[in-house]
Symmetry: C2
């Protein structure tokens, strides 16, 4: 449901091809929704079947033709309805594979767990850096699409991405310290 509505929302800003949508997802929606290209194409097909989007083919020299999707009035209505209808449970379910690994880490030597936590920490720091660079992406899009009112909300989602990622960086650091401490205690 959500990916469908995320795509409808983006198409309400601007008509785009599946390929373009994928770029927008990878560039900016990344902190709160990830999608595979193949899934985007399928969802676009579903949305067209339902009449929420329409498509026109744009011929391109030297490259495959572009299929540009536009939101229909039906689609706009559906999107508005979805926006007005918040679910009971607002927190999304969590599924974090790495935590399963940590949970059962008594099976592994502490050095191995510390090593993986260090990798985790590095990746979280990378993501945090990426988040910080997104501020400019927001400015760019807001100007390109002349949507100054949306900037505020886009920044709120980015802020959430930053805060969560900072928490992950801190968490992994504290874990590493705790495990090193536990190692020392054991050596005594």
């Amino acid at each position: 449901m959500s990916l469908q509505h995320g795509i409808l929302g983006l198409l309400s800003y601007k008509s785009m091809s599946g390929y373009d949508l994928n770029k927008v997802f990878n560039e900016s929606i990344n902190h709160f929704w990830s999608a595979q290209l193949s899934q985007i194409y399928r969802v676009l097909g579903n949305l067209e079947d339902k009449g929420y989007v329409s498509s026109q083919v744009e011929h391109q020299e030297g490259r495959p033709d572009k299929k540009i999707y536009s939101i229909t009035d039906e689609g706009k209505k559906e999107f508005r309805n979805w926006m007005n209808d918040n679910p009971e449970q607002l927190l999304s379910p969590i599924r974090d594979e790495f935590m399963i690994r940590i949970f059962f880490s008594s099976l592994l030597p502490k050095e191995e767990t510390i090593f993986q936590l260090e990798r985790y920490n590095k990746q979280a720091q990378e993501l945090l850096k990426h988040c910080h660079s997104e501020d400019q992406v927001i400015d760019k899009y807001a100007e390109e699409l002349s949507l100054p009112n949306d900037k505020l909300y886009w920044r709120l989602t980015l802020k959430k991405g930053k805060m969560i990622t900072e928490a992950l960086v801190r968490w992994s650091e504290e874990c590493i310290e705790e495990l090193k401490q536990a190692q020392k205690e054991h050596q005594k």
Copy 2:
């Protein structure tokens, strides 16, 4: 893949029925993995087909018989292999429906968004409270299963749950303040 291995891990602690596994998930694995009962049953079936678990039926008076699953040597091997084989990307993809709603909130009056953020905040605080009560659950399980070495790691996953949830509480509070501020500016 992860749910399968999470279940194998839990069964390596103790043989259990699908119903019991569900309770453990809801009680304690909750901060990092959520699963539906129906999915647990299906995964147990898959694991049995692969020979990773075996089941014995335990007769019960007055209630349907219990089907108790135990991990096999094959299953233990598979679980160890999985534990030793960490993926390149350790950070899990994020899919947060509420953020899609926030992203497009310029469509709605600010009061409505503030209202939903307040609901979000309340739910996050509830979850945080629940996390704090989990400390005792960890103690209980560690004693019941006599697994003192695992407690350390269980606490690390719980700590992550707490830190993330605290970040969500703070994030939603800051969002509410920002929106109220923006409302005031507009009124001037």
